[in-house]
Symmetry: C2
Subunit: 344 residues, 2 copies
């Protein structure tokens, strides 16, 4: 019923191996052969069977993306999606398709005690040609161990530790935060509040460092009372904003380490009757969809997640396999919207 390689070979009057060669761009294929085979493929509308290829050959034409199951469950419960993940997926998907690969998304329970066993079994069962690791799990040593032991190539997105293991794609969070800070300073702000992310995230630390470095470079002092740690949620941003705005000497700008917290600051400001951006400039980090849809729209740093994933996927795909470096830095962009204005 469905055409197989035998049908194509028969129609083209060649051996199945020749068909295979043409389809896989093997070496030493004469133009004549190629033409015959391609014609037969065309008329039969033939597509090689993925399973058979994977079973017989070394390649499975499969890229697996490992996604945190627990995180996923949380999103499920809260009824909301994960912007980061879907952008990541876009990037990976587009590259996979270009190369004729397929993307398989796998939920990984990083909290499971039998994680290693489970992962190994998964790798053996799927035999993916490469694995995409998403933060914060790009740094899980157990996962790295299994992947290395199994010899499966993998790319870590936004990895922060053990930088020599596997391949990496990352962004310069520190510099981005410094740029944003410099942007506020250039606007004329001098008293700037900062809402840090949880210290357990390396990205949080980098962003904070960037902020502090930029302040120092411009000879500005960081008032410890204006620096509060949040946990990347809207609520923590609202609380932090309320705390900062309740200080005797209010800052003229607040830089939150991510957009959700920046939106929380906007909410706190509204509750306190502080006009944004007239009386308070606010900026975030990430450029989530909400950043563009808020009132006022949020100035923020756009992390090119899709591009990162695309780059990561390319790193896993054969043409470049091992040829280039093992790490790639992608550029961020400072998106200047209406939430930041010079101080009045």
């Amino acid at each position: 019923m469905t055409a197989t390689i035998y049908d194509v070979a028969a129609l083209a009057g060649v051996s199945i191996k020749s068909v295979s060669r043409v389809l896989n761009r093997g070496p030493n294929v004469s133009p004549k052969l190629q033409a015959k085979v391609l014609a037969a493929v065309e008329t039969l509308d033939y597509r090689p069977n993925l399973s058979a290829r994977s079973l017989a050959g070394a390649s499975s034409y499969l890229i697996a993306a490992f996604v945190d199951a627990e995180l996923t469950l949380e999103h499920w419960r809260s009824g909301r999606g994960n912007d980061y993940l879907s952008r990541l997926e876009y990037g990976a998907l587009v590259e996979c398709r270009k190369a004729g690969y397929h993307l398989m998304v796998e939920l990984v329970d990083y909290g499971s005690p039998s994680l290693e066993t489970w992962l190994l079994a998964l790798l053996r069962s799927l035999k993916p040609d490469g694995v995409l690791l998403t933060p914060p799990n790009s740094d899980d040593p157990r996962v790295l161990d299994v992947l290395e032991r199994n010899g499966t190539p993998f790319v870590r997105l936004g990895a922060e530790i053990d930088l020599d293991r596997g391949m990496r794609v990352f962004m310069d969070d520190r510099q981005a935060a410094a740029d944003m800070t410099a942007h506020l300073i250039a606007l004329g702000h001098r008293r700037i509040g900062f809402i840090a992310g949880p210290g357990s995230y390396a990205a949080s630390r980098k962003r904070r460092e960037g902020f502090e470095a930029a302040m120092a470079r411009h000879g500005l002092e960081v008032d410890p009372g204006l620096v509060v740690e949040g946990d990347f949620t809207f609520d923590s941003g609202r609380r932090a904003g309320t705390a900062i705005l309740g200080r005797p000497e209010r800052p003229t700008a607040i830089f939150a380490s991510n957009d959700d917290m920046a939106l929380g600051v906007l909410n706190a400001a509204a509750a306190l009757g502080v006009a944004t951006p007239a009386a308070l400039a606010v900026c975030g980090f990430d450029d989530t969809p909400s950043a563009m849809l808020s009132t006022p729209p949020l100035t923020t740093i756009r992390q090119p997640v899709a591009e990162m994933a695309a780059a990561a996927t390319r790193l896993l795909l054969p043409p470049s396999a091992g040829q280039q470096g093992h790490a790639e830095r992608v550029d961020y962009a400072l998106i200047d919207r209406l939430s930041t204005r010079p101080p009045s």
Copy 2:
């Protein structure tokens, strides 16, 4: 190196077929055999190879989700994710994992002239046990044709036409919009503005119908000047909001057909100095992440996308294959946040 079914059979002292039987819960398996095999599986840490299973057997243990490539490209360009899709994926992923299935996401170029050929080839190459169709493409007749011709089971999410083709999971948009309208009316609103979605979307039409029906049922007149059509974007919501609020007799509430447009209304209101929710109640539809993060947080309808996808996936999985109905309705929830208050 990696254990195969032969290793397990050898260790357990049985035939490979028996191992296969135990693993696939075949009939007529004695407890003794089962115990022996399971023990061997355990010690060898064995997992059947997906490709081999798929090649040899009828089932591929694969569910494919078809995603619109063009939409994806747009998201890519704009640097933002797709909340709907990622929620959908969560639901599908969780169910797949429970059943030992795998989810493969496939970009489908619905605009391609050779769509049918391409799709058919994809189905043959992947042999998925089921396909998840996402809106607005759940209604593409070419896709349905190919799927039916190929005999691949599929579930359409939010399908609106040809309701007898394939299986379906859907939400009652009309009733949800009616409920939201009734909610505003119960709050005391009488003059209510409505921002419709593009008429090309069936969901848009249903929502509008629901609004109009609820108004009628409560004996309220719909002022044509207060009904504007948008295109589901923030900007169109802002423009529509500006237009409606510019009318001589302002409404006390505006119901937008989706959250992005509702957020646009919030922006328009702010620009015109109309306080929300004090002077204007605003509500949306969808419960996107931004709805919770806006100021004020948006009252909206939560579409249980993850649950829909989970239900859809279950429909495709073997235990229920064909046993239950072919359509399943899921419940929405009216999320009452701070953007709606009684008129002052």
